[in-house]
Amino acid sequence: MAAGARWAELASTVAAADAVVAVGAGTHADIGGAVVGATEVTVPAGIVAFEPADMTATVNAGTTFAELAHALAEAGQECPLDPRDAEATVGGIVACGLSGARRLGLGPLRNQLLEVTFVTADGRVVRGGGPTVKNVTGYDIPRLFTGSLGTLGILVQVIVRTQPIAAASQWFRSVRDPFDLVAALPDAATIRWDGTETHILLEGHQADIDAQVCAVALEPALPGPQPGTLPDGPHRGRISVEPNRISELADGLRGLDARWAAELGVGTVHIAADDPVAVSAARDVAHHCGGWLLREAGAPELDPFGASFPAAAVQRRLRTALDPTGKLSPGRVPATAPASPVGAAA
């Protein structure tokens, strides 16, 4: 098998390297700290297997989302990873922990991932999870890889869930209290609020969309740019906050020179600005509301996370157990401060 040979070659490269980083499409390369001086490796692309009747697809990690979406659409299915840039690779999306734009209705990235195959720091090809849609055989390695930023291993292949594309899909807007809409529309795919306007994406059968529009008095979205487009700019961040506190967060964001869009009911708020100072200020607002801001683009002076990692000792031990010399994406996450010695209380 060609992929197997490529994996073996990759494994020996990784084993021999002092520092190594997997490079995908580079669409989200500003997430996490900069990796300097590491051997760059790429991983194969391509759909390996897709069985529509099983609703699963086996995909090489280097495959772009656009290619995956195209292959699945031919069978009327999709995998709702929905990255900001469709050229992002599947491996990159998983490593960066990017949940899709329809997280409210379709769940986070971690729920879509069934199996991961990766090259370990010591050059072995290891598999975790399993190919079936339901599985508790062993530890949940796929979830640990979600958002691991290339620090646990180099993803080479994943198995994801797929699902039928909804019969109908339509954007609406509303001038009602955005938080009332969350309660009134439990089946919405996403509800976006920018502090002024609320846009709602409804998916499903046309009759159900019509009924919801009628019950909640939604108006069709205005013609023009796609209403679900996330705010863009040279400096961007993503706030994660309890959904209950978005209103409070919005009050803090209003004075800033930044564009933002909140995913109501989820707690994700996308920030974009022309000046990195605004992203930094948005982080302060996030902290004030018990949340945090992940730098997604630009803002080079800004700390990538600006927050301590929970259960830091376990996180450190986990990274060290899988990568004892710290060769995988060095610099991506904060350098490991001395951990508590094994056995001592943290």
């Binding site: 508790v136 390695i141 691991s148 499903g204 707690g267």
Partner: protein
Amino acid sequence: MCFPESTDDVAFAVQIANQFKMPFVARGSGTGLAGGATPLDGALVIVTTRMNRIIEVDPSARYAWVEPGVLNLDLTRAVTYLGVHYAPDPSSQQACTIGGNVGTNAGGPHCLAAGVTSAHVLAVDVVLPDGSIERLGSLAPDTPGLDLRGGFVGSEGTMGIATRIAVRLTPNPPEIRTLLADFTAIDDASAAVSAIIAAGIVPAALEMMDAQITRAVEDFVGAGFPRDAEAVLLVEVSGLLGGVEIESDAIDRVCREHGARTVRVAVDPDERALLWKGRKSAFGAVARIAPDYYLHDAVVPRTKLVPVIRRVYEIAEQYELICMNVFHAGDGNLHPLLVFDGREPGIWDRVHAAGDAILTACIEAGGVLSGEHGIGLEKRDAMTLVFDADDLDLQARVRDAFDPDGLANPEKILPKGSRCGEIQRVPEGAWI
């Protein structure tokens, strides 16, 4: 054995266990089917049943904080009036605890569309194996660093003990339709399951019961299941009215095209509840056939159901055992029950041999060992059927990162010898 009443109590118990280098095992109601909560080697058993408070319910933000000893069904009952429910619904939901559900990453019939426990746990306060207390995950959508919450759920007590759990509450669907289709051949029912999924429909639940279990349940509950069917499918669709009508019509049609004699739709909530009572009483009903049963939990790709189910019956016949099937067909999660009288000489060897053959057949079809019960002790030594030495070594490293001293429910999940080649490992006690 101890019965803590708070997070601090659990931490104290774990600290004492650490002091004496004594292994410890968390235990809820003890309904687990894989031996995950069975104490070995004089382990301290930390029973969570007294930690049974629902701490906070927020129906608008759709979450609840609960203690681990809260019973699964008690949570749903307590929040029903708010128009929400807790989605994972194991058959044992009247007796099993949320903490145990977190430990095993439990499933249930309605996990087909809703997902298993891990999709419904937002955050968990954990007493780590060293006795320290940490919160993994959060009510916010993402936490900085690794998803330790995701790693913890399903770890069967080997990464610490959950003492408070934030679960997602799911809005009750406005419409529910429950269909009962009966078939004269088991292959037809299996093919209908694959065809429903292939038609792009993911029902809320899609359950299959074979002839023997259907009769046993009917004798036990009197739910109106057809006694002469070779197999029945219990299918539920829920959501908004339009989709429910379109999908239930499509399911009716697919079942009839695959040879269903009748497709009955529950006319009211009482009839629906009765049908579900029948399905969830299946394991109790088996006691009327023989005193003992051995239940498996393998999962196969849904497209492989027809050949795998056929193979399961062949294996039972070969070992001269009664085999009954009642399972989550929609996600390919088989529950073959080998029913027997344990007093019969030599029977246990045959039961175990047949069980191994069934597992092997499932794995050859591209399946896995367990869909919702866990590995525990029971399937620990079968892990080598699905994972190679490097895969198991990695899992051992992950486990050891949570529990460097190996005190948290040792001997479970990973077979002996999983820690291969100590290459590149930092010596114990080192500062890393």
